[in-house]
């Protein structure tokens, strides 16, 4: 166990800080500050990605030969932490975090050469077409069918919950290429162009009244077989690899900690019945303390996993554990936030968190994101494998039940 913070890391932190200082323009910080889900304002997030890309920092976790930074796991954490503190916009993870690793792991040289640079630069905007109306938790029951036609597939079916399909020009998706055998066996991983004829995108509005998701309809959509990642009928292997990245690829504790600090700030401004700041209220302090302890616990659980990853092990079912913990603790933080915001949390004012809108908030600015975050964060225990599904995985894989 090496608990000393070496000079190397201190220098690195200073370098990141000064880069952020210079490059995070006010409107980018605003986009970061007003983020209410895992996505920041889409356009500003892309602008930020372009700035990072110029610096060579858009995808720190990728291997160096594809444009990664070569940072070790500690440096990556430092970078993430400083971005958080500076309230940088969150980069859209669908390409960089999700599709990218799949192409790196399973794509041909040609596919890597074509897709990865465009993904890094932000030229391509990706969405993920996995879920279907009938295939949610039971993902491998998906029905969207890709029929072989010479060098192409012809796709028919429906994808649902496709986040940001309204902005994306590319989609990575799972389609059925065979109805034989077990349902996992006939699945193929495909990349496609959202401009292909026969694709229609319809919005789904969330309960926070934000348009993030979509339904995507495929009506005889022709996709070259050259766009396939991995072998035909072997898409489930690629998908499972990706799901592990989606679940365990990032750390939860730092951002939870950051949000908890914001709750404290909010509680310092709010008044209780006796006119005292809510932060001095014994009951509320204890609630914060409890969640802070949970967050610290998670931090060290994540540190243990990082240490294991550092020595070359696969996260495996540990990713399920941190996904359960990270999402459930962040939900608790959002609950504390709406409690601290009290009646201000009930005011509907989406325009005021539109970056650059210049609309004055009703009530303190800090309380603006409390309710949208509370509502949006409910989804985190549903997507990417629900908490129930994750517990099922642990029961089976770890406990052997």
């Amino acid at each position: 166990m090496d608990l000393t913070i070496s000079k190397k890391y201190q220098d690195f932190r200073a370098e990141v800080k000064s880069f952020l200082e210079e490059n995070l323009a006010p409107e980018l910080r605003e986009a970061g500050r007003f983020t209410t889900s895992v996505f920041s304002d889409s356009g500003l997030a892309m602008n930020w990605q372009k700035i990072l890309h110029k610096q060579g920092w858009a995808a720190p976790h990728w291997p160096v030969e594809y444009g990664g930074t070569g940072w070790d796991i500690v440096e990556r954490s430092i970078f993430a932490e400083e971005c958080l503190k500076a309230e940088a916009p969150l980069l859209v993870p669908i390409g960089l975090q999700m599709c990218g690793p799949c192409i790196i792991g399973f794509g041909t040289q040609e596919q890597k050469d074509y897709y990865l640079p465009r993904m890094l630069s932000g030229e391509d905007y990706w969405c993920q077409g996995y879920s279907e109306p009938g295939a949610g938790s039971d993902l491998s029951s998906l029905q969207t069918f890709a029929e072989s036609d010479g060098d192409d597939y012809i796709i028919n079916g429906t994808k649902i919950w496709t986040t940001y399909a309204q902005y994306a020009n590319k989609m990575f998706c799972l389609v059925r290429t065979s109805k034989e055998g077990k349902q996992q066996q006939g699945i193929t991983f495909l990349l496609l162009d959202m401009n292909t004829s026969g694709i229609t995108v319809e919005p789904i509005i969330g309960l926070d009244l934000v348009h993030e998701q979509n339904t995507v309809f495929f009506d005889n959509v022709r996709v070259p077989k050259a766009n396939r990642i991995g072998e035909e009928n072997n898409g489930w292997t690629v998908a499972k690899y990706l799901l592990e990245f989606e679940r365990g690829g990032s750390e939860y504790a730092p951002s939870i900690h950051f949000q908890l600090q914001k709750v404290k700030e909010m509680a310092a401004q709010a008044k209780t019945t006796n006119g005292e700041p809510l932060l001095n209220d014994h009951t509320f302090r204890r609630k914060i303390a409890n969640v802070e302890i949970e967050t610290k616990t998670l931090k060290f659980t994540e540190n243990r996993i990082k240490a294991a990853l550092g020595s070359g092990q696969n996260p495996g079912p540990a990713a399920s554990m941190t996904k359960i913990l990270g999402t459930e603790i962040s939900q608790k933080v959002t609950e504390l936030a709406i409690e601290a915001a009290s009646l201000n949390a009930l005011i509907l004012q989406p325009e005021a968190i539109e970056p650059g809108s210049g609309v004055d908030p009703i009530g303190p600015e800090l309380t603006l994101t409390a309710m949208p975050r509370y509502l949006n964060t409910r989804a985190t225990t549903i997507y990417g494998g629900s908490s129930e599904v994750q517990r099922g995985i642990i029961a089976k894989m770890v406990l052997g039940l």
């Binding site: 309960l207 209780t272 409690e339």
Partner: protein, 375 residues
């Protein structure tokens, strides 16, 4: 113990349920809350015609003499439809304050107009700086010749933008002594500015600023201890009413969730077959049943009046705040992605339960109140 309803109460409940069923399906509600006022003037007139706007008033005042049980029935039904009409603030809360504090002349001026559906009144007592302590106010009413001058700000005045008149609490300073006064303020008087907003579940409220608002003497309903007591009781009534609404919502939500899990199939079976989910829904059912019990307890204590009523209401609000939040969250979770959309009513019930916890002081505040009054 006999918890059965009287014949009249049963008829009331039937007509309420029928109204909600016929007029308040999800799409109709959406259209209602999206119009400017946030409620339907037509429905308001229907309420007047059916006598619902007269429910809580005494018979002398032209009312039906209804009590907590009638309030409970009405609000539970309204909860099931997320009814947007401002009965809670105009009729129950404002009505109570005017009937109990107003002079004969003031009652004559306001109550018939309320009962006939011609007037909207809102309660303006909450202030940002004092949480939900309604006895300490910063808004001031200085005696000036022939009346008062009001300065200050009230927050989250439910239905404030639609009100013809606001019931405003303010500290009266006549030079020697100060006491709490309650004023009935016509919203057309100069110096009142209203910052109107929608709320997260489609409701309407406003922050209202009073800047040298000059009132004549007849605007004062009462002052002193009577006002303190009346506001306290008015808040208890409002708290009780939103809790009844929450119980209606909870009943509907747990049923909706159970039905959904019977039809939604994953892994080849209805998801309601998974034991993990079954137990969760059993817990939702139990939360609802317990809420119903506590609601009845509070209705009885409120009917009896007396010291225990406040305590009972705080117990109820603490419980409902927690149970409602939990039940709402579970409904979303069990609906999966569908629960996260604006397309299902589930999200709106969930949001209303969330709002109800914050209104009138949340679970923590009422638990604190309850704890302080422990015998």
């Amino acid at each position: 113990m006999d918890f059965s309803l009287t014949e009249e109460q049963r008829l009331l409940k039937d007509s309420l349920d029928k109204f909600v069923q016929q007029e308040y399906d999800f799409e109709s509600r959406r259209a209602i809350v999206e119009n400017d006022a946030g409620f339907s003037a037509k429905h308001w007139q229907t309420f007047a015609d059916l006598g619902w706007l007269a429910i809580p008033f005494s018979e002398e005042a032209g009312g039906l003499g209804g009590g907590p049980v009638e309030t409970m029935l009405l609000m539970e039904s309204f909860g099931k439809g997320l009814v947007a009409e401002p009965w809670l603030t105009t009729v129950l809360m404002s009505g109570y304050l005017i009937e109990n504090l107003g002079s004969e002349e003031q009652k004559q001026r306001y109550l018939p107009a309320i009962v006939q559906g011609e007037m909207q009144v809102a309660v303006a007592v909450w202030e940002q700086q004092h949480g939900f302590d309604n006895q300490v106010v910063s808004t001031s009413a200085n005696a000036v010749s022939g009346g008062y001058e009001i300065n200050g700000q009230k927050e989250f005045v439910i239905n404030g933008q639609n009100a013809n008149c606001l019931l405003v609490s303010a500290k009266i300073d006549d030079g020697n002594e100060s006491s709490l006064g309650l004023f009935c303020v016509d919203t057309t008087i100069p110096g009142i500015s209203t910052q109107a907003f929608k709320t997260v579940e489609g409701g309407r409220a406003a922050n209202v600023t009073f800047d040298n608002v000059v009132l004549d003497e007849s605007a004062l309903l009462a002052s002193g201890e009577a006002v303190e007591k009346a506001i306290q009781h008015c808040m208890a009534l409002g708290t009780f009413a939103v809790c009844a609404e929450a119980v209606g919502i909870m009943e509907l939500l747990y049923n909706t969730t159970v039905e959904y899990t019977k039809t939604r199939k994953q892994f080849g079976v209805p998801i309601g077959k998974f034991q993990v989910l079954q137990h969760r829904m059993v817990n939702m059912f139990i939360l609802y049943e317990q809420s119903q019990s506590l609601l009845l307890m509070a209705a009885i204590k409120l009917s009896e009046g007396g010291e225990e009523a406040q305590q009972a209401v705080s117990a109820l609000k603490t419980w409902i705040g927690q149970a409602g939040r939990k039940l709402g969250q579970e409904s979303i979770q069990l609906h999966g992605g569908m629960g996260m959309t604006d397309e299902l009513n589930v999200g709106y019930y969930f949001k209303r339960l969330t709002a109800i916890d914050a209104l009138f002081g949340n679970a923590d505040m009422h638990l604190d109140r309850y704890a302080k009054a422990l015998s």
